[in-house]
Symmetry: C2
Subunit: 159 residues, 2 copies
């Protein structure tokens, strides 16, 4: 029971790149997750470039849409962004007219984030691209396998 699934021979002085032994990396979940994430992000930029959405702004819009009034601190810890870095993005989104900040009446330190109609339209348009985009990224898997992958990822993450 030899485990040689790559074709043998062809291992001369200079490596022809497709005859490399990559089995150790293929068994390394962290490395494969990095490749998967790169694939999704590169595909995202292609698919959503026309709308000007990035993976970060897409997630920000979705969370504010589903949780109007969410404060920046919650948003940052949820999306795993440092608060100062999120603030920079929020500043751009607000000055572009996509979101709006309200001071909370009960605690005037706190900020409540809301989508403007312009922001609501943007994430609505973006949401219509989401399904075909995900389908393209996961095309190598059956629909059952796609659900399994998503389920396993949810199980191994806190959120």
């Amino acid at each position: 029971m030899s485990s040689r699934t790559t074709r043998p021979g062809a291992k001369s002085a200079s490596q022809p790149e497709n005859s490399l032994d990559l089995r150790a990396l293929q068994r390394t979940p962290g490395f494969m997750l990095r490749l998967a994430q790169l694939k999704f992000f590169e595909g995202f930029y292609e698919e959503f470039a026309a709308l000007g959405l990035t993976p970060a702004t897409y997630a920000i819009f979705v969370v504010i849409r589903d949780n109007p009034g969410v404060p920046p601190s919650s948003l940052a810890s949820l999306l795993r962004l440092r608060l100062p870095n999120l603030i920079k993005i929020l500043n751009e989104l607000e000055s572009s007219g996509f979101i709006k900040r309200n001071r909370s009446k009960s605690d005037r330190r706190a900020v409540e984030l809301m989508l403007t109609p312009k922001g609501a339209k943007l994430i609505h348009d973006g949401a219509s691209l989401t399904e075909p985009y995900n389908r393209k990224m996961l095309a190598a898997l059956t629909e059952a396998e796609q659900r399994t992958l998503l389920d396993l990822l949810n199980r191994m993450l806190p959120l």
Copy 2:
């Protein structure tokens, strides 16, 4: 058949952070992959800090170990690093005595990468941390599920 699995009510002015509606993000593979990758990288830095290994240098060592003589260009495209960025890392690894560069005899433009004995010892020590590290990262999944996850990732990626 309400799909309300989060507890209702409790949605007052300021969001208490754990009552947020995150279902859209949980159904977004790209976002979940990003969280998973962050978890693995943060855990990696903790586990391998004593050896001075990063995710990038770990992968570089593994590929050179299994493919002595591999050229920088193949290594870069394989690991999804731009060649100039890889070169900087290789310069540090070489000046620290972990790898060595040979000029190819058949094509004197080409470089062949090899581990020094010091580099071979480093990745050998690192490899012994790999299994417990992966087990910790994937602790929420059964071993069968861990194999399924790795299999699905391999199926959806070229490599």
